[in-house]
């Protein structure tokens, strides 16, 4: 199985602090990590490779230091890693990023499946996975927890707020993967050593044959009008019984269980 995984390097949110005077994030010196959901996508890719054989290619678009994230992917078992980087890509929004990445994925090979994390923890848009699938003209299934191969394509379990859905897809597809899918494996010592000397394939805008008007700031139609915190959504539970006494008893039990009373 020929598997592509698209990842993003993001600031380690655990280590980001806030400048109390300016109320801005202190991003300088904050270590970068692989976007956590992309780790789930990579692990799913590695599991598919373990099960069906094949090759895992990891692609990232970002500044040259994203090479570090690609080496980490090699240490856990990625076969080939590609860095898509160019000054011309600066200022790309999710639309331009999706276009650029789709060119890179198509140039990298003929993949049976293209995997993404469900979203990146810095932007939280969840748009790039479906965006790449759009430009590649392949179906996309979001919030995937499990995937297995069928004779004609894939069978996947997709997580929803109420439970899960089973989907079947014929031919090539893109999936965005949720955290519940797995935990990324630990690197091995041999993997770490391989990562140290691994070749990072690097492509710029010209290598991809990208149209200038569709990349970087020029190719980015997004305008940020306002930034605000969305209302907090909490899980709601209804306790309903014929006998209200029973409901009270259940409620008290639940509160005690959570050590709230």
């Amino acid at each position: 199985m020929n598997i592509a995984v698209c990842i993003k390097q993001v600031p380690d949110s655990d280590k980001v602090t806030i400048d109390r005077e300016t109320n801005r994030l202190n991003r300088a010196g904050v270590p970068s990590v692989i976007n956590p959901f992309d780790e789930n996508a990579l692990e799913l890719g590695l599991q598919l490779k373990d099960k069906y054989g094949g090759k895992v290619t990891v692609i990232t678009m970002g500044p040259p230091q994203a090479e570090e994230a690609l080496r980490e992917c090699v240490s856990v078992g990625a076969d080939e890693v590609i860095l898509v980087t160019d000054r011309k890509f600066a200022g790309s929004d999710t639309w331009a990023t999706s276009y650029t990445l789709s060119l890179a994925v198509q140039k990298a090979g003929d993949f049976d499946v293209v995997l993404f994390g469900k979203q990146a923890i810095d932007g939280d848009t969840a748009q790039v996975g479906p965006g790449v699938a759009y430009f590649m003209d392949i179906p996309v299934i979001t919030y995937v927890k499990e995937a297995e191969k069928t004779d004609t394509g894939f069978k996947v379990k997709r997580v929803t707020e109420e439970g899960y859905q089973l989907w079947e897809v014929d031919g090539k597809a893109a999936f965005t993967v949720v955290k519940e899918a797995n935990t990324m494996r630990l690197p091995s010592l041999k993997g770490k050593m391989r990562a140290k000397s691994a070749t990072i394939i690097t492509w710029g805008a010209d290598d991809l044959g990208a149209e200038d008007a569709k990349i970087g700031l020029k190719g980015s139609p997004t305008i940020v009008k306002k930034v605000f915190s969305p209302p907090i959504k909490t899980n709601r539970e209804t306790i309903q019984n014929e006998d209200p006494k029973q409901s009270v008893k259940e409620l008290l039990g639940k509160l005690k269980e959570r050590k709230l009373i």
Binding site: R185, L186, P187, S188, L189, K190, K192, M193, K196
Partner: protein
């Protein structure tokens, strides 16, 4: 402190630390409480390619030395020495094959240990042969092309869990210590059974059992080295493995100190964190200094061994003695900083305090280490006089 580690060694430390943080620390209390052998964690260590650190590449290992090995042991020991001893006992069990085995024996027994698919153990101690290893009573008699083993080994780490055992038995009673030989015995050999699992004060995740041999027939090809070399095999093996115990001491002490310093910053008494009191600061200063001294002695000894120097009994004994005494002192002081809370199972220092004691006992008591060191010093002095 700059430890002058190679890039590979830094990777070993990083990887071992990750395993310790993610898999050993979250599980150590349960493994201790329920006396569970850490099979799953050992599998994770094996998958990370850390089982064969000291085994040559030709046999599927990493091709490193004692230094690479002790770095991993130290990190695991920061979390739990019950786990780290289960890992390290493999080296004690298989090193005799590495050092004295024939090519066939190496081909057969080293690869599964390097891959971590099998465990190894070393059987020397008996009821009447502890510090006095010369008192071994287990016998091996050559009958045709087999040796027949009879006797009981005691307190064998990884006993019952391991598949490959290096066992010391007497082949010629008349020759005393020179009549001992070393053998490889595989689990499942008829006549080879195990006693009950010992109920211990500490390192409760590790498995300690008796090895019982009753007319146990093993192929002649399983003799290690030559007949009569058993005592040399055992002593060389212990010289070589003692830095592993020192690494357990350094790691345990490091873990205990880190826990105590963190707690001292959080615990408030008389309106201040207790880290503000000089009585505690002096404890912390002594712990930090002695751990660093123990680590330096350990690393220097490991590098001496890896340099090919053949004469390292004394250094090996010194690092074991010092690091394990430090571990006990630090575990004691760390618990004292925690006060009453430290005596409770909710906090990790209670377990570290119980675990630390074995380090002064196994792989040669610290009294035996002092004998080794003193004899070496005396011999050197006598040699000097002769010149």
């Amino acid at each position: 402190m700059e430890y002058f580690l190679t890039d590979e060694q830094k990777m070993i430390v990083e990887l071992s630390r990750k395993i310790t943080e993610e898999h050993i620390i979250p599980n150590r209390a349960r493994l201790d409480e329920e006396e569970i052998f850490p099979t799953e964690i050992l599998k994770i260590i094996a998958d990370a390619d850390l089982y064969g650190l000291y085994i040559p590449e030709a046999y599927g290992g990493f091709g490193g030395g004692v230094m690479d090995f002790i770095l991993a042991v130290e990190e695991f020991s920061r979390g739990c020495i019950g786990v780290s001893v289960s890992f390290a006992a493999n080296a004690l069990g298989i090193y005799p094959v590495l050092a004295f085995g024939t090519e066939e024996q190496k081909q057969k027994f080293l690869p599964p240990i390097a891959a971590g698919t099998k465990q190894a153990a070393f059987g020397l101690t008996e009821a009447n042969a502890g510090s006095d290893a010369g008192g071994v009573q287990t016998t091996a008699e050559l009958v045709g092309d087999h040796y027949v083993l009879n006797g009981t080994k005691q307190w064998i780490t990884n006993g019952g869990e391991a598949e490959i055992y290096t066992v010391i038995a007497i082949t010629d009673k008349a020759k005393g210590a020179r009549g001992a030989s070393a053998f490889i015995v595989e689990k499942g050999t008829p006549g080879f059974t195990f006693g009950k699992k010992e109920d211990k004060l500490g390192i409760r995740a590790s498995a300690t059992r008796e090895l019982v041999f009753q007319d146990c027939k093993i192929p002649k090809a399983n003799l290690l080295g030559k007949e009569g070399m058993g005592f040399i095999v055992a002593m060389k093996n212990l010289d070589h493995s003692r830095p592993g115990i020192a690494a357990q001491g350094v790691g345990l002490a490091q873990g205990a100190m880190e826990a105590a310093v963190k707690y001292s910053r959080e615990r408030v008494q008389f309106g201040k964190p207790i880290s503000a009191f000089q009585a505690n600061q002096h404890k912390i200063a002594n712990m930090a200094t002695e751990i660093e001294a123990a680590r330096c002695l350990l690393y220097q000894t490991a590098r001496t061994i890896d340099s090919g120097n053949k004469d390292f009994s004394m250094e090996s004994a010194m690092c074991k003695l010092y690091a394990t005494d430090v571990a006990n002192k630090v575990a004691n002081e760390a618990l004292q900083i925690f006060g009453g809370y430290g005596y409770m199972r909710e906090y990790p220092v209670e377990k570290m305090f119980r675990d630390a004691k074995i380090l002064q006992i196994y792989e040669g008591t610290n009294e035996i280490q002092r004998n080794v060191i003193a004899l070496d010093a005396i011999k050197k002095s006598a040699k000097q006089d002769k010149k």
